[in-house]
């Protein structure tokens, strides 16, 4: 059986040549594959490399890490987890609850992380008062990006309340442009809805989205919030479904649309197009949410490793992530703000400086909330249940806000 022989040999050779992770390497599962993100991550890789820790890259892009989470589940089930995994909010808590994450408390105590990381973030980075993840950044999601020329054409000021917002949108509609650039994907609709609910008051947000109080979820205020969402649908063009968020940003950039409600990562698109904050576009907090911040935070969750050398590399990586210099360098590139509050804002632009100030302010005022849309308010099952209702409401499947609110309460209850 000559053919048998060759295939067997080939298989044997493959076994041996399969890239072997050396003990002092960190294997990193992440979904930062676009130019800016990868460049930011490269900073970390280089820092680690200088310290003698190798980097084995395992990028899995798509859908805010959904494919990556599937891959992760396979790896963990197989008993072969990566060293560090880019992760959002409750996923970290869920994995920690499974006992899959490593304990970084010793390092965290030595480095004093407790003092510099906002409490709202620590809620995700720690489990059972043990540190299990290292936060890289904070994105705040309640931003509105407005084309300056379009705003000026309305003759109105940047809106600070819901009514002002509607007035501006109406004017823009009269001017013949699409008032609101929006991409029809569940998470984008949920991002907008986060802003609306937070705009109705931090209390409602806290009760409904964080405490998951059925009364708040199905109540009159929530019904009003849904009415607002349905109202916003009327300012969106018909071609919104499935549109990527960056295409929506492009509409604002080239004046086709008036504004976009999107997290701080949208800024990168404006900057890349050569637009200047304040001159070409303005960034404001979602009307009614001034002083409050909904955030999501990219963190690297550290998975249990049995090999001592790997554990060392893991600690090295956690330290490198929390290094203030890296936090600054990374977030300047990425458009977010550092997860540590003690990082100098020197390198950041105006929007970045404002973001850092807002974060610090909200942190002290207790108005820093995890974003429901980005999995920082409630676990994945609940988050997706809210997506279902929010998207359906946006697409006009409920008669009114009250019906949507009732459906929301029901869906959240079912998902718990």
């Amino acid at each position: 059986m000559r053919l048998f022989g060759t295939t067997m040999t080939a298989a044997a050779v493959l076994v041996m040549t399969t890239s072997i992770t050396f003990a002092e390497d960190v294997e990193v599962l992440h979904w930062w594959t676009s130019g800016g993100e990868a460049a930011a991550l490269n900073v970390l890789k280089d820092n680690l490399g200088k310290a003698g820790t190798g980097w084995v890259d395992m990028p899995v892009a798509g859908g805010g890490g959904e494919a990556a989470m599937t891959a992760l589940r396979a790896r963990v089930t197989a008993g072969d987890p990566p060293t560090a995994v880019q992760m959002l909010g409750f996923d970290i808590q869920d994995w920690a609850a499974e006992g899959a994450l490593a304990d970084l408390t010793a390092t965290a105590t030595a480095e004093g992380w407790d003092k510099v990381v906002p409490a709202a973030l620590q809620k995700f980075s720690t489990y059972d008062s043990k540190w299990v993840a290292a936060p890289v950044n904070v994105h705040s999601t309640n931003w509105v990006w407005i084309n300056k020329a379009a705003l000026d054409a309305t003759g109105l000021a940047a809106p600070t309340t819901w009514d002002e917002l509607v007035a501006v949108l109406d004017k823009m509609k009269e001017a013949g442009i699409t008032p609101l650039a929006h991409g029809g994907q569940p998470w984008q609709e949920a991002t907008v809805f986060d802003g609306i609910v937070l705009g109705m008051g931090g209390d409602l947000y806290q009760k409904a989205f964080i405490d998951l109080d059925p009364a708040a979820l199905g109540g009159a205020e929530m019904a009003t919030a849904f009415d607002h969402l349905i109202k916003l649908r009327s300012y969106v063009d018909d071609n919104f479904s499935g549109r990527d968020w960056n295409l929506a940003s492009a509409m604002v950039i080239n004046g086709e649309a008036g504004m976009q409600m999107m997290g701080d990562w949208a800024k990168g698109e404006f900057l890349k197009a050569g637009k200047v904050p304040g001159t070409d576009f303005v960034c404001i907090r979602f009307p009614g949410t001034q002083g409050s911040v909904t955030f999501n935070s990219d963190q690297f969750a550290m998975f249990n490793q049995t090999n001592a050398a790997k554990q060392e590399a893991q600690v090295a990586m956690a330290k490198a992530i929390m290094d203030p210099v890296f936090q600054s360098a990374f977030n300047v590139v990425k458009g977010s703000v550092p997860a540590r509050t003690d990082v100098s804002n020197e390198a950041f632009d105006d929007c970045g400086k404002k973001g850092m100030a807002d974060l610090a302010e909200a942190n002290t005022a207790g108005t820093l909330f995890g974003s429901m849309a980005h999995g920082h308010a409630a676990p994945a099952a609940v988050k997706n249940a809210t997506y279902d209702v929010i998207t359906a409401a946006f697409n006009g499947e409920y008669a009114d806000g009250a019906a949507a609110a009732a459906a929301l309460a029901e869906a959240v209850a079912a998902a718990q």
């Binding site: 059986m1 053919l3 048998f4 295939t7 080939a10 298989a11 493959l14 076994v15 399969t18 890239s19 992770t21 294997e27 990193v28 992440h30 979904w31 930062w32 594959t33 676009s34 130019g35 800016g36 993100e37 990868a38 991550l41 490269n42 890789k45 980097w55 084995v56 890259d57 395992m58 990028p59 899995v60 892009a61 798509g62 859908g63 805010g64 494919a67 599937t70 891959a71 589940r73 396979a74 790896r75 963990v76 089930t77 197989a78 008993g79 072969d80 990527d244 960056n246 295409l247 492009a250 990562w265 990168g268 698109e269 890349k272």
Partner: protein, 290 residues
């Protein structure tokens, strides 16, 4: 085996023939359209795509998107392009296809020429595996691969593809060998050839057409697989995962021309095997008759 060039006895009028040609051409356009769109737009600078007509030929031809997709596009943390992943795919696909085809051939041989009590049951059970949705096997498969120590290795990936491929390859070879005269096997037995010798000297030399079908089928399926690749590929991820990383990058400017070039690059090997004339010919050789 029916000759491919056999004439039909049906004769048609001139008008009908014109209509037939027209329909066939329209459908050819329908099938070619997406390929045309991808091809044309992969040869344009990005500005021409976002600002111009998708169907229009490039006003400024460029191969840059192709170069970028192949060797400089951002896939992970390094701007490697699809090149290294292409190699990963090859290293995985070739052994997986070879093993699953050989195993399928041996199974088909046993199931038709060395029949035993209950062989149809065995075959039926194996055949059903073709129809299992792959999503459901991910978790248990991960457990098994972990136990075998094959998690995140190319070998593990090969094992997965072989396991879920032998249903099809066995089906193909079984149907093909079913029409192969059993008397030949008996003659060879009397001549003194053993189990493997009969397979090697008598059946394998005439298995060309079906082997081609099996290889193409397996090659296409394995090459195009994303789910297993992303879950079990570990650090040697296949081409599809890389393409996904290229196309699905979450933030930043979408370089559609590069995406199209990458998509075509990822599809090239399978296109190549399909467009070859052997596949249809092999299909004609009876693989789908059963």
């Amino acid at each position: 085996m029916a000759a491919v060039t056999q004439d039909t006895a049906v004769s048609t009028g001139r008008f009908t023939r014109a209509l037939i040609y027209l329909t066939l051409l329209l459908f050819a356009l329908f099938y070619l359209l997406p390929l045309y769109v991808m091809g044309v737009n992969s040869l344009k600078p990005l500005s021409e795509i976002t600002g111009g007509n998708m169907m229009a030929l490039p006003s400024q031809w460029t191969l840059d998107p192709w170069r970028s997709a192949w060797s400089t596009a951002q896939i992970g943390v390094e701007p490697t392009g699809l090149k290294p992943y292409f190699l990963n795919s090859i290293l995985m696909v070739v052994p997986a296809v070879a093993i699953s085809t050989i195993v399928g051939a041996l199974n088909g041989y046993v199931l038709t020429k060395w029949r035993f009590r209950g062989d149809t049951w065995v075959f039926g059970l194996m055949l059903f595996s073709c129809f299992i949705p792959f999503q459901i096997v991910l978790i248990p498969m991960a457990v098994v691969l972990g136990k075998l120590g094959l998690a995140g290795t190319v070998t593990g990936l090969i094992l997965v593809h072989v396991v879920y491929g032998i249903g099809f390859t066995t089906l193909y070879f079984r149907n093909y060998y079913a029409s192969f005269p059993t008397e030949l096997v008996r003659a060879a037995m009397i001549d003194g050839a053993g189990f493997f010798r009969i397979f090697w000297r008598i059946l394998l030399p005439v298995s060309g057409p079906i082997a081609v079908v099996s290889v193409i089928w397996q090659f296409t399926n394995i090459w195009n697989d994303f789910l297993f690749g992303v879950s079990f590929g570990g650090t040697s991820q296949p081409m599809t995962v890389a393409l996904n990383n290229l196309v699905q990058s979450s933030t930043g400017v979408k370089e559609y021309n590069v995406h199209f070039a990458g998509a075509i690059l990822a599809a090239l090997p399978t296109l190549f095997v399909y467009i070859g004339r052997y596949f249809v010919r092999g299909l004609m050789a009876g693989s789908v008759k059963g």
